[in-house]
């Protein structure tokens, strides 16, 4: 059984991870969490992204959420913001989310076939 006391150890681990990224995030991932997004599976997409980042030991990417942005038809949508470029992926599911983490966030190459919009 886990107790709140365990958190002290978790805190030490988190501090190490924070030290490695030196306060800088290399990219930001935004999962749309409007009713449309949630109904289409945004929660599972969020879980997959967090799990994939954890498995790969990536600690310098921030994961956050937005509301409905008018792309209801293409939900779940995920924005990847990296080097001032915003890429929006549509019809994302858990598998695609994991691939987006690996290919785009880790390896730096956009997964073209799932892109809805992208800034230059």
């Amino acid at each position: 059984m886990k107790t709140l006391e365990d958190l002290k150890k978790v805190r030490e681990k988190a501090l190490e991870q924070m030290k490695i990224r030196e306060g800088k995030f290399s990219a930001r991932v935004v999962v749309a969490m409007g009713t449309c997004g949630i109904a289409a599976g945004a929660r599972e997409v969020m879980s997959a992204i967090l799990d994939e980042l954890d498995k790969r030991g990536v600690t310098d990417i921030s994961v956050t959420q937005s509301g409905c942005k008018g792309l209801c038809e293409q939900e779940p949508t995920v924005d990847v913001i990296k080097d001032d470029q915003v890429v929006t992926y549509g019809y994302v599911d858990s598998d695609k989310a994991r691939q987006i983490v690996g290919q785009h966030l880790v390896n730096g190459s956009i997964v073209d076939e799932w892109v809805v919009t992208a800034t230059n």
Binding site: K2, V10, R11, K13, L15, A40, S47, L50, Q65
Partner: protein, 190 residues
């Protein structure tokens, strides 16, 4: 795909409704899930300290298509949840006033054949905490005489400045919730 849209689980409704609290600028969201086999009821409430709503607004949030784009934060979420409760011999009540926050409560007949399963409450809590690390979440889960509780304010004391959305912390919270809810007496779905 669009055709597969469906809020299948009560835990997904909770995630959706908590978005209203976030949009209302809440710093504390309290979620209660209370099942009582004796009275055959399941009560789900979401209480926040956000901006609150006027009586006029409260009266119209139940109607999905009366909301304008500028007041987009309430759309289909509450009507769908109210419908889910009514289908199960229950109802939804909404208590709010400007500056006082909002309390939304739905009651379901626990054993009703159409009652949606609770589903993955751990994923709902993690999604909320991961994307909103500065908001405090209190999750209270009671079934008969057993109780499980997660209060991020208590976690913050232990974490002493480390954010709730650090990978290592999120992982611990997910395990803590799964552990806590694995107690069979807390089970709500059969």
């Amino acid at each position: 795909m669009a055709g597969e849209w469906n809020v299948r689980e009560l835990s997904m409704h909770i995630l959706d409704l908590a978005q209203n609290s976030i949009a209302a600028g809440a710093s504390l969201i309290e979620i209660d899930v209370i099942a009582d086999k004796k009275s055959d009821s399941l009560k789900i409430s979401i209480r926040d300290n956000g901006a609150g709503m006027s009586a006029e607004y409260v009266a119209q949030v139940r109607y999905p298509f009366t909301t304008s784009r500028t007041t987009r934060r309430v759309g289909l979420g509450i009507p769908m949840f109210a419908e889910a409760a009514r289908e199960c011999d229950g109802d939804l009540t909404l208590d709010s006033s400007p500056g006082e926050g909002t309390c939304l409560e739905a009651v379901f007949k626990l054993s009703h054949i159409d009652r949606a399963p609770m589903g993955d409450i751990s994923s709902t809590l993690i999604a909320l905490i991961a994307a909103n690390p500065d908001i405090d979440i209190v999750y209270r889960h009671q079934s008969n005489s057993s109780e499980f509780m997660l209060d991020t304010r208590e976690l913050r004391v232990q974490l002493d400045g480390v954010a709730l959305n650090e990978n290592a912390v999120l992982k611990w919270i997910a395990e803590y919730v799964a552990d806590g809810l694995s107690d069979k007496s807390l089970a709500i779905d059969n």
